[in-house]
């Protein structure tokens, strides 16, 4: 019998889980990653992973987890697979536990659970405040074991350029670039699973890592993979602003009792600690008494924007509010939140155990992504699968905190066997595809590189990137206004024009990071338009997508999935109905119990 082969692009949580599942099925895997997989962006996830284990005797159930997720996502997610994810979550925790993740424990030696946003239950298992790192390492270790046994071959230091599609439009492998030799090569596979993460770099500064550019998604979009719900971008309420990145301050800070506040008097110049309790405005607790500081992220982010921009109550008139954990005992903080408090201390030189932190919302998570079907993570292009943040399936219009890790592992775990099944059922494997199919894709990509390194224009990559980020952050994040979105799209078109006239400051062909970034930026500029045009079209407010001109959710017209297609060089928006077969939509509010 023919032995199929699977390629996985991306070595974060979803990619590693898919790798393990494919290797377990006895099918060889080639795993591609820009960075050594242990350095993937999943390490940045902090607070925890959700599963309704009901280990605090609160009567939590997977059905409640499912309802919280759908409700939190403002009913935009297709429901059947979300239900399956929530049902699988307790088993995923067990698996991670068996892999040796150093989850925090109760005195009885059981896993401890904390509260997170958008739920009233203690549902979030955690390993300090570096849960993503701990989970990624556990999967990394399992993959290393399979690698040592010869089942997995890693290609670290490679970047994905394009899929190799045969004349029938079936994916037969990938074209990738070795980031040291800058050589462009093709690799055959019967199916390819993409786990390429979020698109933070499109917004310039975000909580995402450097590699989270969305370049792979954009390249695939241009090759015919549909992109769904692009306009849904999560802005996390509590990040530390920085020029190079916005460093996340996990929701777990609030899960452990952290409070968000500003002085009632904006002219108050006293140090935070000496502002008396009755002169502090705990606005989330006041506005949302039931959920308080643990409202979902879109709600908390808009509340902070309201405080800063409408009520003019930002700290000393600046774009900042307090996130305060200084009332929590030091011992608890060190046991449960040390990882994030260290980040604050290291980067700002202030000890948050003593002083409230100064935070502001920052671009964080990509709810939209490559369109996948509702059964097995397959995209609309045969042979291409997607899992993790790069696809759109699980979070609707707003992701609940601590649901991303579970969706990555569930989606990756589903994509692996799905791709294997598809590959085994193929009449004709990739090995039977004519070599010319691979050669022409390689030539096409080499020509793109050649064009970039020989460009003699006057435009500067980094300047274009900064303008892209500023435009997207200003107009396509928290508050969206149609005329601004139109202006943003015009700006994106202008930037794409200027991009064709870039001149690279490095034209060598060894470890040329400038060339690699140029490839990414070209793709980012197009995906930015998909996000912007999706936002412009959607005349309603739902989850993270907020338009003051259309402040209400409009189920009659907009309870539908945006599905962008790339047709003869143009972005076309189409719409699919949402599968609401399990929970009928109802009004979403967090000032009272739902």
């Amino acid at each position: 019998m023919r032995q199929p082969k699977i390629i996985i692009v991306g070595g974060g949580l979803a990619g590693l889980m898919a790798t393990i599942r494919v290797a377990e099925a006895g099918v060889p895997v080639d795993l591609f990653s820009i960075v050594p997989v242990k350095r993937s962006h999943s390490v940045c996830a902090q607070g925890g992973i959700n599963a309704a284990k009901n280990q605090k005797g609160e009567g939590d159930t997977t059905a409640k987890h499912f309802d919280d997720t759908i409700y939190g996502g403002d009913f935009l997610a297709n429901q059947p697979l979300v239900r399956r994810m929530c049902e699988a979550a307790p088993g995923i925790i067990d698996l991670l536990d068996r892999m040796g993740v150093m989850f925090n424990r109760t005195p009885e030696g059981l896993l401890d659970y904390r509260r997170f946003g958008g739920t009233l239950y203690h549902r979030t298992a955690f390993a300090g405040a570096t849960t993503g790192q701990q989970l990624l390492y556990a999967l990394d270790e399992q993959v290393r074991r399979h690698e040592a046994e010869g089942k997995v071959k890693k290609y670290e230091g490679f970047t994905f350029l394009s899929a190799v599609l045969d004349d029938a439009g079936v994916c037969r492998g990938i074209c990738a670039m070795d980031l040291r030799s800058m050589e462009v090569k093709t690799f055959t596979a019967d199916a390819v699973i993409f786990c390429t993460g979020g698109v933070g770099a499109i917004f310039g500064r975000s909580t995402n890592s450097v590699v989270c550019t969305g370049s792979a998604q954009s390249a695939l979009f241009q090759q015919g993979v549909d992109y769904a719900n692009g306009e849904f971008i999560q802005v996390h309420p509590t990040a530390i602003p920085g020029e190079d990145k916005l460093r996340l301050m996990s929701e777990s800070a609030r899960g452990e009792g952290g409070r968000v506040w500003v002085p009632r008097d904006p002219a108050d110049k006293r140090p935070a600690k000496s502002v008396p309790e009755n002169e502090r405005f705990y606005f989330l607790e006041e506005w949302y008494p039931k959920y308080g500081n643990l409202v979902p992220r879109d709600i908390a982010t808009r509340a902070i924007h309201r405080i800063v921009f409408q009520e003019k109550l930002g700290l000393q008139g600046r774009q900042a509010v307090y996130l305060d954990v200084s009332h929590i005992p030091r011992e608890t903080l060190d046991r449960k939140l040390e990882g994030i408090l260290e980040i604050y201390e290291k980067f700002l030189g202030v000890d948050p155990r003593e002083e409230p932190m100064k935070v502001f919302p920052g671009m964080h998570y990509t709810m939209g992504g490559m369109w996948v079907n509702a059964e097995d993570q397959a995209t609309n292009v045969p042979g291409i699968y997607a899992a993790g943040e790069c696809e759109y399936q699980y979070h609707g219009a707003n992701r609940l905190g601590a649901n991303s890790l579970v969706s990555c592992i569930f989606g990756g775990g589903l994509a692996g066997p799905s791709a294997v099944k598809y590959a085994k059922n193929l009449d004709k494997g990739a090995e039977a595809v004519d070599a010319s199919v691979f050669a022409r894709e390689q030539k096409r990509q080499e020509a793109k590189n050649q064009e970039l390194v020989s460009g003699q224009g006057s435009e500067n990559l980094m300047v274009i990137w900064r303008e892209l980020g500023d435009t997207m952050t200003e107009h396509v994040t928290v508050t969206r206004i149609n005329k601004n979105l139109e202006a943003a799209d015009a700006k994106l078109v202008e930037l794409a024009g200027r991009f064709s006239r870039v001149s690279l400051s490095d034209r060598t062909m060894w470890s040329n990071q400038t060339l690699n970034f140029a490839r990414e930026l070209g793709n980012m500029l197009l995906l930015a338009r998909v996000i912007t045009l999706g936002a412009l079209a959607r005349n309603e407010s739902r989850g993270a997508h907020y338009k003051p001109e259309f402040p209400e959710r409009d189920d009659a017209n907009w309870l539908k999935t945006t599905r962008a297609k790339y047709v003869s060089g143009e972005i076309k928006l189409t719409y699919d109905p949402v599968d609401i077969s399990q929970i009928p939509p109802r009004a979403r509010r967090y000032d009272a119990a739902k």
Partner: protein, 250 residues
Amino acid sequence: MAEKKQVIVRIKRRRSPKESAWWEEFALAWRPSMNVIICLRDIAENPVTLDGKKTTPVSYDSNCLEEICGSCAMLINGKARMACSALVDSLEQPIRIEPLSKFPLVRDLAVDRQFMFESLKRVKAWIPIDGTYDLGEGPRVSPEVQEAGYPLSSCISCGSCLEVCPQVNENSKFVGAAIISQVRLFNMHPTGAMHAKERINAVMQPGGIQDCANAQNCVKACPKNIPLTESIAEVNRQAWKQALLGWLIG
């Protein structure tokens, strides 16, 4: 009016492992909360040296920029540390930036730390689970073990401990403190402990724990404050016990 504040950085450049190195100096506009990554990005935007010479952007590894991915370790003013958390205001100028010296150079500040990942393979740094299918919960773990294991599990494989170790050099295969500490971690876990012997055997091979000469530089260099010397002592104890037992049994 005061002169605009500048940041002067000196960077050791090298186009490839085959070519020789040279130094370049840059003057950058100071801003609050600048770190070394921001300096490198400024240079990428305008790669012109202090004496007005056009050059190329600097190659370097980076990813998370919050000191948890382990990518951006380099020598900054002679000290192995992460570039993202190296704040300009706390550094003496000119800021000297060089690649880690104990790893094969790729280009400029980028090095190849594959050796560390290969070493993790050698010592079987994993829990050998039967499979990913549902087998119920893992073993109970006391908070005490969790609190000891968690810091060990926060190793970001940055390579700082290898960089500062006198035993890591061209003539040695020493795996370094980070790897030995992982042996301790997995031998501590209830399931991992069932296979402790294999890991101890691996770490008693050439390049293993006997190569440690107790300089104790590693623990001072670790950006994550991992108790590396405690790990070495503990694994050493386990190795002696195993060796002695093997000798007694014959």
